[in-house]
């Protein structure tokens, strides 16, 4: 019987799942992914986490609770860094330790550290360590790793072209092309992937915007080269992977003539967002009069409040559009 590996549908899932999926399947493991976020998953997470944790971290715990009794291993790598010279968030680095103390009755956790900050080759090293849970054959692990990276890059490239991959597709969206003409409003939706693509957490913001005829552009749809070109203009390098991408893509999109508004989605109490959102906002305010709002998500966010704010925002966007013509 193949070993069952549990992957919480949370945090890094929204960015790295294609990588994990291919790798573990090549290792002959059976994947168990927790279900889409529900009220129960949220409640379970809130219950076992310290109050001060941000919503995404609480949710992560809920997703672990959802699958922990059904798997042989939980895959919670210690994600220190996934890109050279950059970190993710201190909480990603401490995630396996938090889960271990906050939840009981856990299966074995595969908590290999992934740290590419100094050296990209460390990712193969991490893959070997993970692979050895399933096989002794180094060659098998290496080829699984290669395939997984290939698969991940393909998904990423397609995403930049506007094709939202199946594993995170929110709402009814089929595909979105950046800044296209037929939808009449172009709205940048900036935020962490686990906020932008989890429709429970963001209260269906995606669908809500599409119903208002908005064409949504996310960070993942911006060409990474353009992101880097823009991010390099900052006097000091942003050392968070997400921070570079958020600020870089915002700067890039600001230069595109047909952007109509920016929505920043942040988690209540998120340390990284508190700085990154501010950096993005300053860049918008300094150079444009683009409508900009911040939507803050926490476990108490109400849908009615969101609706009202989106309504007002879209009105403002439209008003500004007609004014320009």
């Amino acid at each position: 019987m193949p070993a069952k590996v549990g992957i919480p549908r949370s945090l890094s899932y929204y960015q790295l799942f294609p990588l994990w999926k291919t790798f573990f399947e090549e290792m002959g493991a059976e994947l168990v992914v927790s279900g889409p976020t529900t009220k129960k998953i949220l409640d379970d997470g809130v219950k076992c986490c310290v109050d001060e944790a941000c919503l995404p971290v609480k949710l992560f715990h809920g997703h672990v609770a959802d699958i922990k009794d059904r798997v042989d291993y939980l895959f919670i790598p210690r994600l220190t860094s996934i890109s050279k010279g950059e970190y993710i968030c201190p909480k990603f680095g401490g995630l396996p330790d938090m889960v271990r103390t906050s939840l009981h009755g856990l299966p074995e956790i595969i908590s290999t550290e992934i740290n590419l900050r100094k050296n990209k080759r460390n990712s193969l090293k991490a893959a070997m360590e993970i692979g050895h849970y399933f096989t002794d054959k180094d060659s098998q692990i290496k080829s699984a790793y290669k395939k997984a990276v290939g698969c991940y890059n393909l998904v990423k490239d397609n995403f930049e072209k506007g094709y939202i991959p199946d594993f995170i597709r929110p709402g009814k969206t089929a595909e979105t092309k950046s800044l296209e003409k037929d939808r009449n409003l172009n709205i940048a939706l900036v935020g962490h992937t686990y906020n932008i693509y989890d429709s429970f957490v963001n209260m269906n913001i995606w669908r809500k915007l599409e119903n208002k005829n908005a064409n949504i552009i996310t960070i993942e749809m911006v060409d990474e080269k353009a992101i880097n070109r823009n991010a390099r203009q900052l006097p000091k390098k942003i050392f968070w992977n997400y921070g570079r991408k958020a600020v870089g893509s915002a700067m890039h999109l600001l230069n595109e003539k047909n952007l109509d508004g920016v929505i920043y989605v942040m988690s209540f109490g998120c340390g990284i967002d508190s700085f990154v959102c501010d950096l993005v906002e300053r860049r918008i305010r300094r150079t444009t009069d683009l409508p900009f709002i911040v939507i803050t998500l926490d476990e108490h966010s109400g849908e009615a409040g969101l609706d009202t704010r989106l309504e007002a925002f879209i009105d403002m966007v439209r008003w500004r559009c007609t004014d320009k013509k």
């Binding site: 310290v50 201190p90 401490g94 330790d97 271990r100 103390t101 950096l279």
Partner: protein
């Protein structure tokens, strides 16, 4: 050029000595105060961590007194502190303050010369040897100040007359601002420490011992911590804290520049609970809590500013340490809304608990 720098507990004494030695003109911002915090809150992002907000307040207050350039340290993550310098620059720029920044960035394997190039910039013409000497003096002063603080921790818990230690220390803080030059500063520190040792003490008492752990700013800075160490001291508790200014200077800056092996005992101790450096002082928090417990301390107080990422991780893990080592832990979270009364009540209740545990342990014997 008139330099200024944000406060971090008593760090101003060492920085002052450095700038005196280098012959640079500077303004020390007013000690942390309500107004500084208000200015900071008004100008900073709502969810920024508290130290950033106070830094902003310090800088603006110093600017109003005539400072035109900020000296600040940088960093490379993962926690927010490493980006403070940029955030502060952006905030002040947009708020219309015409103030320059000199950032001493965390050395990443760069040479000594490069590291001090920022310092060279402000000292026009002083040679590198003089700078090295100033740095040496500064480090020594940072260490002396920390030893002095440690002495107050001890004296408070055993002083015969409540308030004696506080009064000596208060005088010290007022006076030291006015004393210039490394040698005079050193001399005044040693005089003060003499005064402290002369305080009349109760003999034969064994005070409760509490280790203070957590985020560096709130553990070190008495304004943001509501005077945590003095408060506990005046309840008859001897406190200790491992994270200090000199420790930070020596371990995080000097040893990195000179490629010296760092003291990582705390990391070893923390390993079974937090297996890696995740930023801030989370590993120190866990490791030091364990080491305090092994040294027979009665309790641990963790303190950190709301939304502090590394300490939230540490807080989640501390219950396991509490359990395995049988040592009570109190977590205090500080933000601009924290009320002093509620804070004090929790602290008092904690000390009561520790006293009861001691009594129970004694009667069991």
């Amino acid at each position: 050029m008139k330099l200024t720098f944000p406060h971090l507990g008593n760090a101003y004494i060492a920085v002052k000595a450095l700038l005196d030695e280098l012959g640079v003109d500077y303004i020390i911002p007013p000690f942390n105060n309500k107004k500084a915090l208000e200015i900071g809150i008004k100008n900073s992002p709502e969810f920024a961590c508290l130290p950033l907000k106070i830094n902003i307040g310090n800088i603006i207050q110093a600017y109003r007194e005539g400072a035109d350039t900020v000296l600040i340290t940088g960093g490379c993550g993962p926690c927010r502190f490493g980006y403070y310098c940029e955030m502060e620059r952006e905030i002040l720029q947009d708020a219309g303050y015409d103030i320059g920044f000199i950032t001493i960035d965390a050395p990443r394997g760069i040479s000594l010369k490069e590291y001090f190039s920022q310092l060279l910039k402000i000292t026009n013409g002083i040679n590198i040897y003089k700078i090295a000497k100033a740095v040496k003096n500064t480090t020594e002063i940072a260490i002396l100040v920390d030893q002095l603080e440690k002495l107050t921790f001890k004296m408070r818990s055993i002083e015969a007359c409540r308030g004696d230690t506080d009064s000596v220390y208060r005088d010290f803080q007022q006076e030291i601002r006015l004393i210039n030059g490394a040698q005079s500063i050193k001399k005044y520190i040693s005089q003060t420490s003499q005064k402290l040792t002369n305080i009349r003490c109760n003999t034969g008492i064994k005070p409760l011992k509490v280790g203070i752990v957590g985020e560096i700013y709130t553990t070190i800075d008495s304004y943001t911590s509501f005077n945590l160490d003095a408060r506990l001291g005046n309840m008859g508790v001897e406190v200790d804290r491992s994270v200090t200014v000199s420790n930070w200077v020596v371990e995080h800056m000097l040893k990195k520049v000179f490629h010296l092996p760092r003291d990582l005992k705390y990391a070893e101790a923390a390993k079974p609970y937090l297996g890696a450096m995740i930023g801030g002082h989370a590993q120190e928090t866990i490791g030091n809590s364990i080491m305090y417990s092994q040294k027979g301390y009665d309790g641990i107080v963790q303190i950190y500013p709301l939304t502090c990422m590394p300490e939230i991780v540490a807080q989640s893990i501390l219950p396991a340490v509490e359990n395995d080592y049988g040592i009570p832990v109190l977590t205090l979270i500080i933000d601009e809304m924290t009320g002093e009364a509620g804070y004090l009540t929790r602290l008092e209740a904690f000390v009561d608990l520790l006293n009861k545990r001691r009594e129970m342990a004694a009667s069991d014997r």
